[in-house]
């Protein structure tokens, strides 16, 4: 009778702990499974309840065994493998290790509620284990039920923490057969043709420039098409089948797809991408001047030229809005005046009314930024209106008719040595040189090469970099950041060609 009371109490506690933990598991899995998580939760609650009810009525060994299997599933499958290994250890141990040594990546964590429910899942599973043990002892023995011995639990946890510390560290692995495969992930068609081909040729030029290296560097060109969603499979193939050791990439929409895949594979991914969140400082790093840096440099040049009043003629497009917002901040800070601001859709082809309105505001300079083909249409209509005081950020460098923008000045990436551009153009006469892409691609490739030549894990090597003397000038990166910063320079179209006017 007394043993029955004890068994009932142990069973109630055990079932309660399973119910609470199943609720936590359901919450945690909503992010991955969506509404199906409720089905999982229902299974985790109903199945043990029925098995325990069956056991309490019949004392069936099968029912008791089934109940214990459900407990093991909760404890090992959800508590240890998921709650402990994928949430609790990364949150606490992973964060601590990354703060202590750059050989450890900063963990990539999910939203707060996912990670906290993961930790709660682990705690809940500890109670499930303890009460299941208590139930087993009550069921089979007359011995006093007790919780698991504390030293054994601490020892087991210590072993798991040690295993995590060992596996979380990024180590140098010498390339097999002395060949380093580097994935090149950039779209080269459609709207990305100019930037993508500049990027690709820059990486190929960097590869052909290598002399006397310890290892052989092979490029694995990944055909990502023009749709980022379809690019995922191609990138996965490059990582899994081609076994690339690092990735150089460009264009943010593709960098966003590459980021989680590189993190999962624990390989370095450098990206000439303006979306700064791609650079997580663990495995992913961006390398491009920020819109803020462009804004600062543009306003400096405007002030140097005595410009006070600015008219804006810009396309309604996210990239351009990014530049414009940063520019407006600097314009306000410097006390300059925007006399007129007009934004147009990509369907507009007749800009004459807009030009007339802007002219009526008597600006010192017309800030013009749009993508092609509108850029050259607008350039033609500005030329027809005999307007030559034009400025921009980057845009004229991708014009197909730069002669339309004669005397236009703009900020764009710096070049440490202009001969670099000349050499590129000689090597690839049919490829348009995108200043905003090419030097960074070249530098990104060389960072990876330097890491291998030094015998360092590439991701750890780049995490440790603070400055890099690159083709676009000095790149800087603050500790822990995933974004290399660089200062743009001022360019001008002279005799139909971009000319670098100033260094930073």
């Amino acid at each position: 009778m007394i043993q029955d009371l004890g068994l009932h109490r142990a069973a109630r506690r055990s079932l309660l702990s399973i119910g609470v933990t199943a609720a936590l598991i359901t919450i945690n899995h909503l992010a991955v499974l969506g509404p199906k998580a409720f089905g999982l939760g229902a299974v985790l609650i109903v199945a043990p309840t029925l098995l325990l009810w069956w056991f309490m009525r019949t004392r069936s060994t099968v029912a008791f065994g089934g109940y214990l299997v459900m407990n093991l599933w909760v404890v090992i499958g959800f508590g240890l493998l998921k709650g402990l290994w994928k949430s609790t250890l990364p949150v606490f141990v992973g964060t601590l290790l990354s703060a202590l040594a750059t050989a450890y990546p900063r963990p990539t964590l999910g939203p707060v509620w996912v990670e906290v429910s993961g930790v709660a899942m682990f705690i809940g599973s500890a109670f499930v284990a303890a009460f299941a043990y208590q139930l087993v002892r009550t069921r089979w023995g007359t011995a006093r039920a007790s919780i698991l011995s504390a030293p054994a639990g601490v020892l087991a946890l210590g072993v798991l923490v040690a295993a995590y510390v060992v596996t979380d560290r990024d180590r140098w692995v010498a390339p097999s057969n002395g060949i380093v495969k580097i994935g090149v992930i950039v779209p080269t068609g459609g709207p990305y043709a100019v930037l993508g081909n500049s990027f690709l040729k820059a990486v190929q030029m960097a590869q052909s420039d290598l002399r006397g290296t310890k290892y052989q560097y092979q490029l694995v060109l990944v055909d990502v098409g023009q749709d980022p969603d379809q690019a995922r499979a191609a990138i996965q193939r490059a990582i899994q089948d081609e076994r690339v050791s690092a990735i150089v990439g460009g264009i943010s929409r593709f960098g966003q797809v590459t980021r989680p895949l590189a993190t999962q594979a624990r390989i370095l991914h450098t990206c000439v991408c303006s979306v700064t969140s791609i650079g997580d400082g663990a495995y992913n790093f961006t390398n491009i001047p920020s819109p803020e840096a462009e804004g600062v440099r543009w306003v400096q040049e405007a002030q140097r030229r005595g410009i006070r009043n600015i008219a804006l003629l810009t396309q309604d497009y996210p990239s351009i809005q990014g530049h414009l917002e940063a520019l407006k901040v600097e314009v306000r800070r410097a006390g300059l005046t925007i006399t007129d601001a007009q934004e147009f859709a990509d369907s507009v082809t007749d800009f004459r009314k807009m030009i007339a309105q802007a002219r009526a505001s008597h600006p010192d300079v017309y800030y013009v930024e749009t993508l092609n083909p509108q850029l050259d249409v607008l350039g033609q209509q500005l030329a027809d209106a005999r307007i030559r005081n034009i400025a921009s950020v980057v845009a004229p460098s991708v014009s197909q008719r730069p002669e339309l923008f004669e005397a236009t000045w703009y900020t764009d990436s710096n070049l440490r040595d202009f001969a670099f551009k000349t050499r590129f153009e000689k090597l690839y006469p049919g490829t348009q040189f995108a200043t905003h892409m090419m030097p960074y691609a070249y530098d990104d490739f060389n960072m990876i090469v330097q890491a291998f030549e030094r015998g360092e894990n590439p991701a750890v090597y780049v995490r440790n970099l603070r400055t890099y003397e690159g083709n676009a000038g000095t790149l800087t990166k603050v500790a822990g950041s995933g974004n290399f910063q660089s200062m743009p320079a001022v360019w001008e179209i002279e005799h139909g060609r971009p000319v670098l006017l100033s260094h930073q």
Partner: protein, 46 residues
């Protein structure tokens, strides 16, 4: 205070610290890694 009560308080404190710590650490990590929001490309089609 009985041993059971004392143990319960310690366990509750440990659980509270773990959940509170996880909340703080994850929130700070997500801000640092800037993964909580999506940006649109701000460079020239980059």
């Amino acid at each position: 205070m009985t041993k059971v009560t004392r143990t319960s308080i310690v366990v509750a404190l440990v659980i509270g610290m773990m959940l509170g710590g996880a909340t703080l650490i994850t929130a700070r990590n997500n801000v640092a890694m800037d993964s909580a929001h999506q940006e649109t490309p701000s460079g020239f089609l980059h």
